[in-house]
Amino acid sequence: MNSVLWLNARFILLGFMISLFSLLNACKPDEPEPPKTESIVVRDLPADTIIGLTPGTPPTGGIPFGAGKFTFYSLENNTVVPSTDSASNKWDLAFRGTTIFTNSGSSGPGLGGAFVWNGLFDELFSISLDSTFNADNAPNYGIPTGSGRGWYTYSQAEQLVRPIPGKVLVVRTAMGKYAKVEILNYYKGGITPAVTEPDSIKYKLQRYYTFRYRIQKDGSKNF
């Protein structure tokens, strides 16, 4: 007897919830709008790729190095900006190894800045009004450098760099527009090499960024 009552109660509750849900849906002013911005994926952006190893053997030698040059990127135009324009507002992000600069403060003349938001890229609909964008101020940067501090972790045992999941780089561009960026991979072809690959392969493939971003060109903070 009791169980019958309980079953009934459950159905009633379920029915009530369904009707409430449809009511709420009906009351919504409009359907969820399609995103106002376009999702752009940039693949294999080189960022000061390895050109050699220091002489000797680890731990003192055999350390990989690049030419020390940044790759400048314009999120607004979705293009690489030549390094001759490094002192201009033409670029938004600059990549060198695992370091990412914004066009701000000690890094450039722009209005840039950034912070790292914890959450999913697709769930960041708008930047909250009270968030602060940090301008680069060497040695502290809007996108913090170092393993586990900004966007990546580096494992010494495996000699691999991996982007941390659930980290979105919220960027203010050189011209003061807003963008959200998620780094997807650090290796050529967008695939992290297997840990068992020799270091020579890991060196050859690293420092190629794959990332996706959305930029709001109307100047608002909604994506």
Partner: protein, 715 residues
């Protein structure tokens, strides 16, 4: 009714066709033997500091007698323990022991009840210890801090020297040769009269070290030489008194050559490592009347480790470590009645370390402490035994620690017993966790400061303008407290008659450990060059729990042992974070997604499943035996590769591991009686029979290798 039951039990033992032999049942409580049929029970001393059989002990224990050690063909402790039920030996800083999911730093390794010192990153390298002249190796699982103090959280391993004075005059020589230039010589000798005896052995061992590395041009990286010896004198001046002096030395030297091909061509890095260990012990056993047994003991051990690394350009770095451990202890055993036994004692220890990683040469860090312990055991008329113990440790450097234990053991019927226990274990912080001052220029200039050093270290760097950011955990730095674990264990042992002459014994144990105050290294600041600064904090909590089962089936000629353990480990805080939707992982397509509790894998280097199978066939004539052993370990997570701060199935994991070995041996010529064999013994074996190899996760696992051993007993 019950009394009759037990009388029947004793009778069953007497008429049993299977003689218990070396695995005899002894009770210190002079009670009627709680034996039905030929139970397999071994005497264990580590559980209570008095002799108890594994059946009477209310704790899960494992005993590996000398005969089984010999048949297994293992020469070093690490290899032996890696084949036992519920134990896992992990690589990294030597062979470390994992018991009930607790890693090497939480387990105590002892020889004759005294701790070995000299740990690297918390790991005591089990392969430092040769298996020579032992009576048995005992493993008691679960916290034993109530008897042994710090480090006995997951369990204790005790190697019991063969002190049998009946050995008298003897001289044995044993020589082994095998793959990878393995050479092992054992010389054991003894002399004895009624009042005094001497026993000694010496064991030189050499082999090629093996290491598969992606860079290395050869898997063989250099020779290792180990030299061990032990001398023991005992003197019995009169009734109830005995003096024992023991002196043991261990010397290891290894050269490690890694030839690597780098951009500029091939180059060779040579690492050298040397261990020197000296141990001395003086015991005075005294028995007063029938009810009191006492022991006064002085124990001193010193462990030194020297390492260097160099290449063509010269020495890259050197490192030195020197630990001296002095202990004096008095222990009494009092039996006020046949049903009650009281063990009590007190001791004082001076533990001191010099390390190039802490201070300038010659500076010593000391941790003195003293302790009191008590253990009461009482057997109630209903055959239930109660064990209650409490130990108090007073440290100068840390908060004092109380370690209680409460255990019960009883019988459901003469075929089945049960046991349950609740106990607490603790571990004091390591010297390195207090005093380390380490910088690694090779890996991004990261630094590690011991907790007592962190503040001054960071302040000094700040003054020099080398600090870019101070992190939240800097503010949480505090005096380190001991780590604690509380464990609940319950188990049962059951005996079966499978068929005529076939018996079986099934042991089942459940365990749950709750670790608190765990010390973890955390980043506390960032340097201007990007290098992070770490220090140690009491931050985390963890749980390990599992179910272990062991089935032994035995016949006059065949014995089969099947063991398995299911393990679940984790941190409650991780689960809380996962459930509140704060943890992410990487989906197949490279984007991020929320982590679910189902993805969570708990702690690294833990295999969910572990098991082994041993089959031994030994038709008694000639002492011939043939033995098969397989060990299995399911996959284990090795690193947090997705960078979300915890271990989940998307992280890097080592594949399941299964290794097997085959061995056989015999004596020669035939003896006149079934227990008396010829002076020659031979033994051959093949290890890693199916040639399992894994360059990345198990670089030091030897490929298939074989050995032959020949022994001669002069007298």
């Amino acid at each position: 009714m019950k009394g009759r039951f037990f009388r029947l039990v004793v009778l069953a033992t007497l008429i049993s066709p299977l003689k218990l032999g070396a695995q005899k049942v002894v009770s210190t409580l002079d009670s009627p033997l709680l034996i039905v049929a030929p139970w397999k029970a071994e005497v264990v001393v580590s559980g209570t500091r008095t002799e108890k059989t594994t059946l009477e002990l209310p704790l899960p224990a494992l005993v590996i007698p000398a005969e089984r050690i010999r048949q297994s063909g293992n020469l070093r402790l690490g290899d032996l323990l890696s084949e036992q039920s519920g134990l896992v030996v992990t690589p990294g800083f030597g062979a470390g022991l994992q018991i009930q999911g607790l890693s090497a730093e939480y387990n105590l390794i002892m020889i004759d009840g005294e701790p070995l010192v000299g740990r690297t990153a918390g790991v005591l390298d089990l392969n430092r210890i040769p298996l020579v002249h032992l009576k048995q190796v005992e493993v008691v699982k679960g916290p034993s801090s109530s008897l042994y103090g710090s480090d006995a959280l997951g369990g204790v391993v005790n190697m019991v020297t063969n002190l049998d004075s009946n050995l008298g005059q003897h001289l044995n020589v044993s020589l082994r040769g095998g793959s990878f230039k393995l050479r092992d010589l054992r010389l054991e000798a003894g002399l004895g009269k009624r009042r005094w005896s001497w026993q000694g052995w010496v064991n030189p061992y050499s082999a090629q070290q093996f290491s598969l590395r992606p860079f290395s041009q050869s898997p063989v990286v250099g020779p290792i030489l180990r030299l061990s010896q032990q001398q023991q004198w005992s003197y019995r001046p009169g009734r109830g008194h005995e003096f024992i002096v023991q002196w043991r030395t261990q010397f290891d030297t290894a050269r490690n050559e890694v030839s690597a091909t780098t951009g500029s061509g091939a180059s060779v890095t040579t690492g050298r490592e040397q261990n020197r260990e000296q141990t001395g012990r003086l015991d005075w056993h005294h028995r007063i009347g029938k009810r009191y047994d006492g022991r006064l003991r002085f124990y001193a051990t010193r462990f030194r480790n020297d390492q260097s690394l160099g290449n063509e350009q010269g020495l890259i770095y050197t490192d030195g470590f020197d630990q001296r451990y002095l202990k004096s202890e008095w222990q009494g055993v009092w039996n006020p009645s046949t049903a009650t036994q009281w063990v009590y004692g007190a001791g004082a220890v001076r533990d001191a370390v010099q390390s190039a990683r802490y201070d300038a040469v010659g500076f010593e860090r000391v941790n003195p402490f003293f302790y009191l312990f008590n253990q009461l055991e009482h057997r109630f008329p209903g055959r239930t035994t109660l064990l209650a113990a409490l130990r108090y440790d007073q440290h100068r450097l840390y908060a004092s620690a109380w370690s209680p234990k409460l255990a019960l053991q009883g019988w459901i019927n003469p075929q089945q017993s049960w046991k349950i226990s609740i106990s607490r274990g603790f571990k004091v912080p390591d010297f390195r966790q207090l005093y380390l001052n380490f910088i690694n220029p090779a890996a991004g200039n990261y630094r590690v400061f011991g907790s007592l050093r962190a503040q001054e270290g960071v302040e000094a760097l700040q003054m020099a303008g080398q600090i870019a950011a101070i992190l939240d955990d800097y503010g949480r730095l505090a005096e380190l407290r001991p780590e604690y674990s509380t464990a609940l264990q319950a188990g049962t042992v059951r005996y079966f008659d499978v068929a005529q002459h076939w018996q079986a014994q099934w042991e089942s144990d459940l365990f749950l450990h709750r670790l608190e105050n765990m010390i973890d290294s955390r980043p506390i600041a960032v340097q201007t060059d990007g290098g992070q600064i770490f220090s140690y904090l009491n931050v985390s909590r963890a749980m390990t729990s599992g179910w272990e089962n062991r089935l032994r089936i035995y016949h006059r000629k065949i014995s089969l042992s099947l063991g398995g353990q299911y393990l679940w480990c984790g941190r409650p805080d991780d689960l809380k974070r996962i459930r509140s939707g704060q943890v992410y992982t990487r989906a197949e397509d490279g984007s991020s997604r929320l982590l679910t509790a189902r993805d969570y894998r708990g702690l690294p280097f833990r295999s969910t499943w572990q098991g082994q199978l041993v089959v031994t066939y030994s038709p008694k004539p000639n002492d011939f035996f043939i033995r098969w052993q397989s060990t299995y370990r399911s996959a284990w997570i090795t690193a947090d590769t997705d960078g979300n701060g915890l271990f989940n199935q998307q992280d890097l994991s080592a594949p399941a591991l299964c290794t097997s070995r085959l061995g056989l041996g015999s004596s020669w010529p035939n003896g006149r009686t079934p227990t008396h064999f010829g002076p020659w013994t031979w033994q051959v074996g093949i290890d890693n029979l199916f040639n399992y190899q894994n360059a990345f996760f198990m670089p030091n696992l030897l490929p298939r290798s074989a050995f032959i051993q020949l022994s001669y007993k002069l007298f």
